[in-house]
């Protein structure tokens, strides 16, 4: 691990969201930025979070069934998550338009939120979002090492997020997170209605793509950028689908520059 890899931990706090205890981490000053995580890399404050917190009040909740937020019986689909995150917004008192950022699965959730509640958003940033098309690689039909090899183009920082799958607690927790993920995306693996609905998300938008995304596919980021009314696409050189781990500071800088440049 390099020197820059050490990041001061931000412990999770628990807030009550309409009766559901939600684990979240929060650091930074400035405008509130709600970050929705992907299907992995949960349970910790990442270098990427820290880099974002240099320019915003970063609020990073964990989805039900991920990290330290317990799985919820009511969670069956994306519509439940959209309503849940509007409840999270209410619980946090985000009454003025705020900046929403989602990575991978979180990008899909953010897009689903944006088409239902476009007036709530100051901006929308989707980082290698899923949801418009099925992933080009089947995430449920890979060994853990194949998944890593597909998601990362640059393995330099992979040690920061490596867990020991031989550890029983880790194995069970990962399986439980994947089980929640399956409930959401096993079938279908994309939302065929989203394509038409994205026209509703009219706020300024940024799509952050990888240089070469062998997981979600390179075209998906382009499709999002084309379908959102006020979006542009930026790719982070040298990265794959795990760009928030591969190039955390650079990816965060792209997002902060975009948000900072808004009127």
């Amino acid at each position: 691990m390099s020197e820059t890899a050490s990041v001061a931990d931000v412990p999770a706090q628990t807030i009550d969201v309409a009766g559901t205890p939600v684990a979240l981490r929060r650091r930074g000053e400035g405008r509130p930025l709600l970050f929705l995580h992907g299907a992995g890399f949960t349970g910790r404050w990442l270098r990427f979070h820290e880099a974002l917190a240099a320019g915003a009040d970063v609020i990073a909740p964990e989805h039900p069934g991920f990290g330290a937020t317990a799985d919820q019986e009511w969670l069956e689909g994306f519509d439940d998550l959209v309503l849940h995150y509007d409840d999270v917004r209410g619980a946090l008192g985000l009454d003025a338009p705020f900046d929403l950022v989602g990575y991978s699965l979180g990008g899909w959730i953010a897009a689903a939120y944006a088409v239902v509640y476009p007036e709530r958003l100051r901006s929308l940033t989707l980082v290698v979002p899923a949801g418009l098309e099925p992933p080009v690689a089947d995430p449920f039909a890979m060994l853990p090492e194949q998944l890593v090899a597909t998601m990362f183009n640059d393995l330099a920082n992979v040690g920061e997020v490596m867990v020991d799958p031989e550890d029983l607690d880790v194995a069970v927790h990962l399986y439980e997170e994947a089980s929640t993920l399956a409930r959401l995306v096993w079938n279908p693996r994309y939302d065929r209605k989203l394509e038409r609905r994205l026209r509703r998300a009219a706020c300024p938008a940024l799509v952050v793509g990888a240089e070469h995304d062998r997981f979600a596919g390179d075209e998906q980021a382009e499709r999002y950028a084309a379908l959102l009314p006020a979006a542009h696409l930026e790719r982070v050189p040298g990265t794959g689908h795990a760009l928030v781990i591969e190039q955390p500071e650079r990816t965060a800088r792209v997002i902060l520059d975009f948000i900072g440049g808004l009127a």
């Binding site: 890979m142 994947a178 993920l181 079938n187």
Partner: protein, 406 residues
């Protein structure tokens, strides 16, 4: 020696595929371009002749099951095969072990098909219910995370459809049917015996025990089978009763020949096909997310570590014998090994007696089935070596008057 009922079981494999080490899986992704229907025609008819032979040889039953898109067992519709066997037999019990309930859009179709078979056969059907393997959730894209919920809702719907006069309305989470009113209803009352074959998920074992359904372990080492039987007994105890041997089944293929040496020489290659080719399945196909609970997964992983359980493809022939995944030998040897299941584990149903495995040719299957029936079965039966259906014994799992919880 203790009593045992013997059920013939053919998986109906399609053995002409590349070696296990050359393919990702014998399921899901193995191209069906390997399947030659002319060869399939020959194989199906040999396999069906073997099922029919089970009656002539006095087996207590013969079984079929449901699997999709694989070479391990080419029986996507077990009810079709059961229908064929029923038409060519008179008395033998036919176990469908089972229909994979969550893999069907409307479970009433299963209720109808099984009821038809039960009526046509005059009440010879055993209705096994399974969830389908993890592989089948990859193949069909039914959601494994809803598999358990769909299984039990479908089960409850089918039992109600078989036992309550229709029409009635079913309003569930996964199925919503305005007029549940199947014609016909089953011949056996209140309904055919229900069996639950499983892989050792705690939830399934507990539910099976509470409902007094026979539970069957499939292709497991004997130590793991014992652990799961103990779990069943504990759940039964909590429900206030002691399970009978006929509630505990084990699926273990057997091969019997004149001597131990001859049996090994004749069976080994075919058994290795089953475990190294037929069961070539990566973990991600076996256990898609949500297929078992985290709690069950923890139990299974701990069990695997405790008993040093290897993937099927890594087991040597000697390990398969030592851990009793299979039983091979002279009639005396096979009877002694089966007696461990009856004496030490308290089991009462053996499934897989004389079973065809892998690329075993017809002549060996007939020889094995015949020797098993004539030389092994008498050790576990009253004098006369008659099957249960001649002795007038109830089918294991038939609903008994004492089944109503006190």
């Amino acid at each position: 020696m203790s009593h045992l009922q013997f059920f013939h079981f053919g998986l109906m494999p399609y053995p002409h595929i590349p070696p296990g080490e050359e393919i990702e899986s014998t399921w899901v992704t193995l191209s069906n371009s390997h399947y030659d229907p002319v060869e399939g025609h020959r194989l199906y008819n040999e396999y069906l002749d073997q099922s029919v032979l089970a009656e002539k040889l006095g087996y207590d039953g013969t079984c079929v099951n449901e699997h999709h898109q694989n070479a391990y067992g080419t029986m996507p519709d077990p009810n079709v095969m059961a229908s064929h066997i029923i038409a060519r037999t008179r008395k033998i019990r036919v176990g469908i072990i089972g229909n994979a309930l969550p893999l069907h859009g409307n479970p009433l179709r299963v209720a109808e098909s099984v009821a038809m078979l039960d009526v046509v056969s005059g009440g010879r059907v055993i209705s096994g219910f399974v969830r389908g393997t993890g592989m089948e959730y990859h193949s069909t894209r039914f959601n494994p995370a809803f598999s358990r919920e769909r299984f039990w809702e479908a089960h409850d719907l089918i039992i109600k459809a078989w036992t309550q006069p229709g029409p009635f309305e079913w309003r569930g989470k996964h199925y919503d049917i305005p007029y549940v009113n199947p014609w016909p209803v089953p011949y056996q009352k209140p309904h055919p015996p229900i069996w639950l074959p499983g892989q050792g998920s705690m939830e399934t074992i507990g539910e099976a025990a509470r409902r007094r359904y026979p539970f069957m372990m499939v292709f497991a080492p004997i130590a793991f089978t014992k652990l799961n039987y103990d779990m069943y007994r504990r759940a039964a105890e909590e429900a206030g009763y002691e399970p009978r041997p006929e509630q505990l089944a084990f699926c273990v293929g057997t091969y019997v020949a004149e001597t131990d040496e001859k049996a090994h020489a004749e069976a080994k290659d075919h058994i290795m096909w089953l475990f190294h080719n037929g069961l070539k399945i990566p973990d991600y196909h076996w256990f898609p997310p949500g297929y078992v609970t985290g709690r069950s997964l923890r139990g299974m992983l701990m069990g695997k570590a405790k008993f040093n359980m290897k993937p099927h493809t890594e087991l040597t022939y000697q390990e398969l014998l030592d851990e009793q995944y299979v039983i091979v030998g002279s009639p005396q040897t096979v009877a002694e090994k089966l007696a461990i299941y009856t004496e030490e584990l308290g089991a009462g149903i053996h499934v897989g007696a004389g079973m065809q495995v892998g690329d075993m040719p017809h002549w060996k299957v007939v020889k094995n089935m015949t020797l098993f029936a004539e030389e092994v079965m008498p050790h576990f039966r009253p004098p006369g070596n008659q099957p249960a259906w001649e002795r007038g014994e109830p089918v294991p799992g038939a609903v008994q008057p004492d089944a109503v919880p006190a």
